[in-house]
């Protein structure tokens, strides 16, 4: 008799996973979208800053 630890991912197991509820998945998706929008806004702000600096030097 042997004992095999399969709690983590191995070639014989996916590893234990907590299955999220539908609500948690929705919240996670929403969080991802907000993060994406936030990154886009950061880029726009950087571009505007660049334009503003260019104008001030000219």
């Amino acid at each position: 008799m042997a004992t095999y630890d399969l709690r983590q991912k191995t070639n014989a197991s996916t590893g234990q996973k907590v299955v999220p509820s539908q609500e948690e998945i929705r919240v996670q998706n929403l969080e991802n979208k907000v993060n994406l929008q936030s990154e886009k806004l950061d880029k726009i702000v950087k571009l505007l800053d660049g334009i503003s600096k260019e104008k001030s030097t000219t």
Binding site: M1, S13, Q16
Partner: protein
């Protein structure tokens, strides 16, 4: 015999919806890939998942995705405790194991939920172990559970 109401504040308003909730944990195990692809020997223990301390396993079972070798039966439970508390001698036909009627397990200390391979060795089979767990640890156990903290005589 007397009945004392020590349920505290709240009365009949019910429990809040934002209280602790049970959660589902699963682990899919390829029995044929255990022990360097040799498979599991008879009486081998497959540790499937962690049980955190002060957690009740409300229900747990095995879904046989691919049948194990002929004659193999499967138990699901606590090694060193009740080894077949959730599944007892499942005949490893594809589908969900029959749930036992035994009282559910509360892990006072951290433990593991294990599959026990019985009756024969298995060089085949894929199973999904699932469990619905809930944290039942108390809050304010040390500073609230004294008589001086209570304000209603019963």
């Amino acid at each position: 015999m007397a009945t004392y109401n020590v349920t505290g504040v709240g009365g009949t308003t019910g429990h809040p919806s934002n209280g602790r909730t049970p959660y589902l944990v699963e682990n899919t195990i390829d029995v044929s890939a255990v022990n360097g692809d040799s498979g599991a020997a008879q009486n081998d223990v497959l540790q499937a998942m962690d049980i955190p301390a002060e957690t009740v396993i409300m229900e747990a079972g095995i879904e046989v995705i691919t049948a194990c070798s002929s004659s193999v039966t499967l138990d699901l439970g606590i090694t060193g405790g009740d080894v077949d508390i959730y599944t007892d001698g499942d005949t490893n036909a594809t589908g969900y194991s029959t749930l036992t009627a035994t009282a559910r397990h509360v892990a006072a200390a951290a433990d593991t939920l294990d599959v026990l391979v019985l009756s024969a060795a298995s060089s085949a089979g894929k199973i999904r172990v699932w469990a619905i767990m809930c944290d039942v640890s108390g809050i304010n156990e040390s500073d609230q559970n004294t008589s001086t903290q209570h304000d209603t005589a019963v």
